[in-house]
């Protein structure tokens, strides 16, 4: 009965139509959660949280001397994507990553797209994550972004829009997998709806890594693949360990690796052993102190030399961050058109560039109505939510935009779709987004579903875990509802 008084409000609701009917693909889920009592729900929720805590499915809270570990809040009501919608998303994501990969190859080689003036050259050359050190270097199999997590949202009309591309070290895939296994334990019956599995992700990831190994790899039967983590104090360490375990590969820290004669070795009980592929979860800036930040103690000196010599493959490649720069995001529709001759299947959110004179004056005149984002921040940081911001905050951004326009973009606020979500006494609508995981190996695959993040605070549009966000299991159904 708990869904009886549910209000969709003036938003696109994932489960209910505007006139209050359950959308067909949610029928099984609505039955289950419509019948549940508060007590039953709370018991199940508590059991799930306990199992996450016991299993150490946690992230480390920074700036906390206790090293507090928290669970990523999980909401039991799954988000369901009908198969016909998913097919479009899948095509759109594959199109997008294909084009971005061609773009990366181009700007690190001939730079045709700049010469043809599709993108003003200074935007690329001034991008924080553009790595000159990798000019004219060909990455194995021409794949730059092996793993990509693209953030999608739905607007008031229910249309999917791309909010940002994450081509550096996207995280969260472990939560996609853990959420699924938790929900299966808590509510086994609802899976009669026919849900496409996500469990193939680690295997597909490993295959993708093996695909880009040097032809003369050093491992005996298959390439030696390792996962490089910043270490146990990194907030995403759980995920690193989880994925390494699922793939059956060693998890290494910078101090476990050493480069000699342009080859990478790990320091084992049996001496030095060659490494062929590194799934790295350390950002470019910290990965090799002999090239990038010299004060990094997490990285491996000489890694860039080894990669350039073709003796080791890094996934993702160094320098992919230029493609998820928020200014470059503005050009992605043009990038798709330029390299593929196609119209984008998935649209961007309307975006204004502060570095373009006309856009800049529009942005400055309308700061109170816009969302302003720093070009290279992630995790919901460096953002101004104009309509909800205090005047001082707006003025602070105004100053920063005038001082450094290249670093800012602005977008109209999107009224994200909502989803029934448990809130103390019952179900209320909360805003959500979607991060599907795209793997670029022998071919490009998208794991059906992904991570649905939910802003648990009433009215909040910020879904990031660092800022009060939780997550949901995300279903793609086998069949049409």
């Amino acid at each position: 009965m708990l869904l009886k008084d549910y209000e969709t409000g003036d938003f696109f609701d994932e489960m209910f139509t505007a006139d209050g009917n359950v959308r067909p693909h949610y029928r099984r889920v609505a039955e289950e959660f419509g019948d549940i009592t508060r007590e039953e729900y709370r018991n199940k929720q508590a059991a799930v949280e306990l199992s996450f805590m016991r299993g150490g499915v946690t992230f480390t809270v920074y700036n906390d001397s206790q090293g507090t570990e928290r669970i990523f809040p999980f909401d039991c009501v799954p988000r369901v994507i009908p198969v016909e919608e998913w097919e479009v998303l899948e095509k759109g994501l594959i199109q997008r990553i294909t084009a971005l990969n061609l773009f990366l190859h181009d700007i690190y080689h001939e730079q045709k797209i700049l010469k043809d003036k599709v993108i003003p050259a200074h935007y690329v050359l001034s991008a924080k994550h553009f790595r000159r050190e990798f000019m004219n270097f060909s990455v194995p199999k021409n794949i730059y972004a092996h793993i990509c997590g693209t953030d999608l949202i739905r607007d008031k009309g229910g249309s999917y829009l791309v909010l940002e591309d994450n081509l550096r070290c996207p995280s969260g895939a472990s939560y996609m997998l853990e959420n699924r296994s938790a929900l299966k334990r808590a509510f086994p019956d609802i899976f009669s709806a026919g849900v496409r599995p996500v469990e193939g992700y680690p295997q597909a990831l490993l295959k993708g890594m093996q695909h880009v190994a040097p032809a003369n790899f050093a491992g005996d039967d298959h390439p030696n693949v390792v996962l490089l983590t910043p270490g146990v104090y990194n907030s995403a360490y759980f995920e690193h360990a989880f994925l390494a375990r699922q793939m059956g590969i060693p998890i290494v820290e910078g101090r476990d690796l050493v480069v000699r004669d342009f080859k990478v070795y790990m320091r084992t009980t049996a001496g030095l052993v060659r490494v062929d592929v590194i799934y790295r979860r350390i950002d470019d800036d910290f990965i090799d102190p002999s090239v990038f930040r010299p004060d990094s103690i997490l990285g491996v000196p000489g890694l860039v030399n080894a990669a350039r010599a073709g003796n080791v493959c890094l996934a993702n490649s160094i320098g992919t961050g230029v493609a998820d720069d928020k200014v470059m995001y503005y050009f992605v529709p043009k990038i798709i058109k330029y390299y593929l001759g196609e119209d984008p299947i998935l649209n961007n959110v309307d975006t204004f560039l502060a570095s373009e004179a006309s856009d800049k004056s529009y942005i400055l005149d309308n700061l109170a109505k816009l969302v302003v984002k720093s070009a290279n921040e992630a995790g919901g940081y460096g953002m101004l939510m104009g309509p909800w911001a205090a005047q001082e905050e707006i003025e602070e951004f105004r100053k920063n935009i005038i001082a450094n326009p290249r670093n800012f973009i602005a977008q109209p606020p999107i009224s994200l779709s909502r989803h029934p979500t448990w809130c103390e006494e019952g179900f209320e609508g909360r805003h959500i987004d979607l991060r599907p995981y795209i793997l670029y190996g022998e071919k490009i695959t998208v794991t059906p579903g992904g991570l649905t993040r939910v802003a648990l605070r009433k009215g909040s549009l910020v879904v990031n875990s660092s800022q009060g966000g939780g997550s949901k299991d995300t279903w793609v159904l086998h069949n049409k509802a």
Binding site: M53, R54, G55, G56, D220, N224, L227, V232, Y237, F238, A241, F242, A244, R245, G248, I249, P250, I251, V252, E253, R255, D256, V258, V259, R260, D261, F262, K263, Y265, M266, R267, T268, T269, A270, G271, L272, V273, D288, P289, S290, V291, P294, I297, P301, G302, N305
Partner: protein, 366 residues
Amino acid sequence: MFTASTTTKSNQRRDQIAQRDQETVMLSRVAGSLYWMSRNLERSENIARLLDVNFQLLLDFGSVSDETLKDHWVPVLRAAGEENLFFQLYATADSRSVMEFMTFRSENPNSVISCINSARENARHVRDQISQAMWQVLNDAYLFLKDADQESIWEGDTSAFYDQIKKYSYSFQGLTESTFSRNEGYEFIQFGKFIERADKTARIVDIKYHILLPKVTDVGGALDAAQWHAVLRSVTALEAYRRYHVAEIVPWKVVEFLMFSESFPRSIRYCVEEVHELVQRISGAQPGHYLNEGQRRFGKFLQDLRFATKEEVLRQGLHQFLQHVLSELAAIADNVFDTFMYHPPIDMVAEIRLHQQERQQQQIGA
């Protein structure tokens, strides 16, 4: 400075590993974490048992003076090697203060809570290596102690509390047996466990050496019997001892049993046999051959232990003998750690310079 070429030693070792199990390439850091994980958990179990048994033993004494209490608890602190730290933190050694210090104080690196935290922290570093179930036991232990309400433990069933701590260790050992592949990692886990166990058995016997009677054939009073009864229980040896010696608790027989039993898995002899076997396997050395001088010496120590008699031990002095056991155990632990689990830290400055030079040379060459 490292070189890319592997030594003959490690080639030999790798061949041996390849024969045994294809999967194993083990980072030295991982081997170290497995070792410390296992060793710390074993330690937490032994300390929990030692505290529980000594707490119960006091009940046999009836009412006791402060001085008796001190005489009772100080050797326990000494066995843990934390006597000095204790008296920096507490004025008197009574049941409550010692048990708090040895259970909950994080300043004490040998408290139960410190050992469990360290075991879990090491496990966190090797989450990808151990089974989910093994991790969960350590995490449960950590959460249990983190949330433990000290007051209610003292007022309630103290033994049940220590039982719970021991159970985490038992579960972990069981899960290691049933869910951890018999690869190199397993050997490091076992190595940590048996080193720690041998060490603790030696220390527990050493606590009581002063109440041993001058002659092997002398028989002590009822209180002595209670003490040796407690020693046996401190290493869960009571039942095994009884089966062997049928009920009668004779001080020297207890000592002999705990030192020399070939079959009881917490006796010094048994643990040293295991440690020796594990060192051979970890080193990939053939029987009768040793990788280095330290390991040869340990082999010799095992031989001495195999042929030692209680009369010899008495001549040498039990305390001296046990100190010798402890120092041999420490030496082999250091030896294996340095040989397989430790790599000197990377000299970042030198490394950065080296790779920058290499890059420049390459650019000039091109």
